[in-house]
Amino acid sequence: MEYRQTRLLMQFFIASEALFFVALIVAYVYFRNLTDDWAESAKYLDIRRTGIFTIFLFSSSGTITVANWALRKQKRGVLVGALVVTIVFGAIFLAGQATEYYMLYERGVKISMNIFGSAFFTLTGFHGFHVFVGLIILSVFLTLVLLGSFKGNGPFSAFLATEWYWHFVDAVWVFVFFFVYLRPLL
């Protein structure tokens, strides 16, 4: 029962979060079509570089699945390994975003520059914030595992919830990446 409840809670929570991102993406697309700041500004974006970091983020969706499998099969070593890799991949993605922000900032692309800056930093920033929160939760998990609170029996719902959340954050990035980086090239 508890398992079923956490699962439902997480499903509706994620649906609700998804609508939050829908709103941000709508704003982004709306302004894209409304103004012509973009043609000029979008050229600052380095799709190849971001693409590489994107691969790290998407891979971490795979490694967290491995972690969940290891938890169910009670393979402690695999679990620690998969968790560490997931956290590192997530962190690499965030670091990539941070350096991207820095490079844009150097060229004067700021949240206050124009509507492109506003929409770009808000959308990607909220996504990055969600990745960050996920990293914290995963680190807590890793610590618990290392400290020996590793029960592994039954469907460990807190971990499953985290896994879903992580997949969700990745899925949001699919859309962000498409609308922000790919669309201008199409």
């Binding site: 029962m1 079923r4 409840q5 439902l8 809670l9 509706f12 929570f13 649906a15 609700s16 979060e17 609508l19 939050f20 709103a23 941000l24 704003a27 709306y30 302004f31 409304l34 103004t35 700041d37 949240i111 206050s112 124009n114 509507i115 800056g117 506003s118 929409a119 930093f121 808000t122 909220f126």
Partner: protein
């Protein structure tokens, strides 16, 4: 004998009181859905006094033409804070509070699915409320209306930090509402007593359940908009600033894509309360359970498709206006169905005019009036004529007070015995009812006329045109009567908590499960419950006993 933990909350101590075993600390740290529900209700009452005071000040300022008691700045802050408070800190917490208290009881559960999330939702709501009101001390309250239209809400038109507090405060209370909605959904799906299929839910639970989906879908939209507004104001972004590439219309879209569903978020649980109260006091089964439940789903879906009827005057163009006008008219159908069902329930019943029932009847009449003015608004040319006049003010209040607030009163008179173990005084209740009803209609009925005569809303004073002075004066007198009625109500609550007639388990002879628990319920609501067979479980069990 020293009471052990299981006795908390103690019978007869419904107030946060030092007399309970662990005193106030027990309340502050509680995760019991009943205590949390009670604290929600106190929160609502507290902010009702704050918002009511703000309303009284406004009505005082408007009592006569060309008065200058408050001045324009103060008036702007008052009408903004009044509307915001009433919607987000009074109606929302009170409805959520009633649901927090009664939803588990009505489905035969002992708790909510996530007690600690439940506590978080309450405290986050309260925190948001205090943040919002803290703005008064921090240099000035928000002053751009409860909908904070851009660019009026942007830094270059609203200099104080009021709107920053508005954004943060509403984001925080919004998170509380989302938490509560998540809890309601999961609790309803997973914790019903055996035999209670979704088709046998008490209607209040049913409507709170549907409503939770509305909350989950609508509040993220508001939060996204509020974050953008905050980022505009604090970090110099341009989302809603037309002068630098942004769009003020986008704010209106976000706000009303949330805001229109929100008015149904405030209406649906009220419909639920009415659907519990009317059958009990008519001694009849609710007429058309299926249509009542089904029309709720229909309303919920439609409510997301009509937001732009708040923007007819914004220049979206005729095709858009026509589409949204037609959509808005459709909502009249399921709502009309509900009204027919309620009336049909009373038809031929043995109607008992308790205070609760009186409020239910007043609800039907006044809410219908509010609905009619709403339909009038949905006719675009009429809207163009009366938008942003007192016609709007009259409309909102007919639906919010004549609608939701009356249902809340009906619910409080109905459920008070369960919550406190004592009855509210019917004599004081009738005084409350008649004074409030009269005052309410005096205050707002004539505002329809003022609106048609062209008196704009959100003005702190007005010239001495024919009829303006006298109509506004009547309005102010009516408001004062509502104020007196509220004092009677509050006195009734405090008095009855101490000295009220003791209530037994089921003083109204109702049929839903909450009346099976003791009054007030013990910490664990029920012992073993046998499976239910219909939506009138108590009646079945009684019959079983007879046979």
């Amino acid at each position: 004998m020293k009471p052990d933990r299981a006795d908390v909350p103690e019978p007869g101590v419904p107030l946060p009181s030092l007399r309970s075993t662990y005193g106030l600390v027990q309340w502050l740290s509680s995760t019991d859905h009943k205590q949390l529900g009670i604290m929600y209700l106190w929160t609502g009452l507290f902010f009702f006094l704050v918002g009511g005071l703000e309303a009284m000040l406004m009505r005082l300022q408007l009592a006569w033409p060309e008065l200058n008691l408050l001045g324009p700045e103060a008036y702007n802050q008052l009408f903004t804070m009044h509307g915001t408070t009433m919607v987000f800190l009074v109606l929302m917490p009170t409805l959520i509070g009633l649901a927090t208290y009664f939803l588990p009881l009505m489905i035969g559960a002992n708790e909510m699915a996530f007690p600690r999330l439940n506590a978080m939702s309450l405290w986050v709501t309260i925190l948001g409320g205090f943040l919002l009101n803290f703005s008064f001390l921090a240099g000035g309250a928000p002053d751009a209306g409860w909908f904070s239209y851009a660019p009026l809400s942007e830094q270059n038109y609203s200099f104080s930090n009021g709107l920053d507090y508005y954004s943060i405060g509403l984001i925080v209370t919004g998170i509380g509402s989302i938490g509560a909605a998540l809890n309601f959904v999961v609790t309803t799906v997973t914790m019903r007593v055996k035999g209670m299929g979704l088709g046998r839910l008490p209607l209040f639970v049913w409507m709170v359940f549907i409503n939770s989906f509305l909350i989950l879908a609508a509040f993220p939209l508001l939060n996204a908009g509020l974050f953008m507004l905050l980022i505009d104001r604090q970090l110099g972004a341009h989302f809603f600033l037309p002068s630098s590439g942004g769009s003020a219309l986008l704010w209106q879209h976000f706000f009303w894509a949330f805001g229109h569903p929100e008015v149904y978020i405030l209406a649906l649980p009220g419909f639920g309360i009415i659907s519990e109260v009317i059958p009990v006091f008519s001694r009849k089964k609710i007429y058309g359970y299926g249509t009542l439940a089904g029309s709720t789903v229909f309303i919920a879906l439609l409510s997301f498709g009509v937001w732009a009827h708040h923007m007819f005057a914004a220049g979206l163009g005729n095709p858009v206006n026509t589409f949204f006008a037609a959509g808005s008219m459709l909502i009249g159908i399921p709502t009309g169905i509900k009204i027919v069902n309620w009336i049909a329930t009373m038809w031929g019943g043995a109607v008992y005019f308790s205070t609760s029932m009186l409020f239910a009847l007043a609800f039907i009449v006044d809410f219908t009036l509010g609905g009619l003015s709403g339909v009038a608004f949905a006719i675009v040319p009429i809207d163009w004529r009366v938008t942003d006049t007192y016609f709007v003010v009259a409309h909102i209040h007919y639906v919010f007070l004549g609608g939701t607030l009356f249902t809340i009163f009906a619910g409080i008179y109905y459920w008070f015995p369960k919550i406190s173990g004592r009855m509210l005084s019917e004599r004081l209740g009738k005084w409350h009812f008649w004074l409030f009803l009269l005052g309410f209609n005096m205050t707002f009925l004539f505002q329809h006329l003022l609106g048609m005569m062209g008196m704009p809303r959100r003005v702190y004073t007005y010239p001495d045109l024919p009829w303006y002075g006298i109509l506004n004066f009547i309005s102010t007198v009516g408001a004062a009567m509502m104020g007196v009625a509220m004092l009677i109500f509050i006195w009734n609550i405090f008095h009855s908590l101490r000295k009220g007639v003791k209530a037994d388990k089921n003083p109204w002879g109702a049929w839903t499960l909450e009346w099976h628990a003791s009054s007030p319920p013990s910490l664990k609501n029920f012992g073993e419950l046998s499976p239910v067979r219909t939506e009138r479980a108590l009646l079945d069990w009684e019959e079983d006993k007879k046979n």
